[in-house]
């Protein structure tokens, strides 16, 4: 579905990604793991068109997207739930969700999609006329995911959805992500919460200092010596 090939990405003179290649298969829950500053968010921002790769290609459903302007990607079927949620704080919950469905196709089904998002996150329905900035951290994360789903994406990219949440909420958010994945939405998940993610993902790549160093299925990586030492502390 998504094929990233040999991309190099730099901020000005500072190169942060070297020769990164990976693929996301239709219907899978793929995880990109790595420590702070490894370049995970940079990968997502490059796919989203906010950054341009120096080299390499990014293909989505066979189409080259590395030169497509960022605002066109939502229409192609990629939804990006950014790190730190990035809601519109002075807009209501409902307005935030409406902002998620701007593409003509998503707009046609706006009402039904909103009902679906409300069944996934009943708390959002209760709070629909409240400003997003007044929600709690967990509710904000749910709204961010809900806003991403409003685009009816083929690929949902989630950047650190567990960031800043209590352990109980983290489990809840991860369950919802699995739930979404079961409804045939491909998920690309970026996380630092390695243990949790490896137990639920279909495959994962490990990113270190801007290079992909390992890949495999969840159980394979859970038993990998390097992963155990560096990320699980076993």
């Amino acid at each position: 579905m998504l094929k990233v090939e040999n991309i190099d990405v730099a901020y000005g003179d500072l190169q942060v990604l070297w020769d990164v290649s990976f693929t996301v298969q239709e219907g899978e829950l793929l995880a990109l793991l790595g420590a702070n500053g490894a370049g995970k968010t940079t990968i997502l921002n490059t796919i989203s068109g906010l950054l341009r790769p120096r080299r390499g290609s990014i293909r989505f459903l066979g189409e080259e997207i590395s030169r497509v302007p960022g605002h066109k990607l939502a229409e192609l079927g990629i939804a990006h739930v950014p790190e730190g949620r990035r809601l519109f704080p002075e807009m209501t919950v409902k307005e935030n969700l409406e902002m998620g469905s701007l593409s003509p196709e998503a707009k046609k089904k706006r009402k039904e999609t909103m009902e679906w998002v409300y069944t996934l996150f009943p708390i959002l329905k209760e709070r629909q006329n409240q400003e997003a900035g007044t929600l709690s951290g967990g509710q904000q994360q749910m709204l961010a995911i809900g806003r991403g789903l409003m685009a009816l994406p083929k690929l949902l990219m989630l950047d650190e959805p567990s960031l800043g949440l209590s352990p109980l909420l983290v489990s809840q958010v991860f369950e919802i992500i699995q739930d979404i994945n079961r409804q045939e939405i491909t998920v690309l998940l970026v996380e630092q919460n390695v243990m949790h993610v490896l137990k639920m993902c279909s495959r994962a790549y490990v990113l270190e200092n801007g290079r992909l160093v390992l890949q495999g299925s969840g159980p394979e990586l859970l038993n990998n010596q390097h992963v155990k030492e560096a990320y699980l502390g076993i």
Binding site: G49, L73, R86, L87, F88, P89, M91, E95, L102
Partner: protein, 291 residues
Amino acid sequence: MSLFGQTVICGILLGGMYALIAIGMTLIMGVMKIINLAHGALVMVGMYITYVCYKSWGLDPYIGMLIAMPALFLIGCLIQRYMINRLVEVDSILPENQVLLTVGIMLVLTELARLIFKSDYRSVTTGYSSSTFFVGDMSISIPMTVGFFIAMAFTYLLHLFLTRTDLGRSIRATAQDRNAAIYMGVNAPRVTVITFGIGSALAAAGGSLLLPLFYLWPDIGHLFTAKAFIITILGGMGSTMGAIFGGLTLGIAESLGATYISMGYKDVVGLVIFLLVLLFLPGGFKSLTKR
């Protein structure tokens, strides 16, 4: 007592029209994060267009406004598209340089107006220019009242546009988080172009409403830039409601100053309030409503 009441009402009416101009400025500031120092010059251009419509075809300023607004919308779009956005694309240039660009635009517009119309004072004298009506023993200007209500109607329409339409919500979203808006599929550069156009059209509307009340000359733009800037700071930057309160405050302050101190000192009162707000309420009125 009736003098006081009359002064306050006059201030409110004037303030409503100032607010319309300031809302245009605050809208642009919200999305672009820059002060548009050409805003008053755009008001001035709008006033001249309405003036020409009146002089050449005898169109009433309230009708001429309907020509000035689309014209300024177009001018605003072109300025944003071909001047300001081009500067945004250059990474190494500081945001201050966009502000400097607006100063340049202001100078060019002002001098162009001087070239065409000379520095003469001009005015539009309509049948109702100096007509009044009485509430009790307070005499209230009709063009001020009409202007106030038209300004409030435009403000309400803008509010509906910003809250009920996808384009309006995209403008607010871009102001609140530009990158997140792009993730949602908002074409942010296009939104900035439309926003600048709308802001300029509102400036033209405010100018046209004030035309029956003010003398018009090329440098009048500076006056409106200063007023809009003060109102924007008073209201808290980027806030539409704040701009309305800021406009009313400035209008009342000027009006009281003109009546009780001296006509020549009316702007001083506004500036003193501006300084007091900067000193004691730096976030503007908007910060009062936030916990």
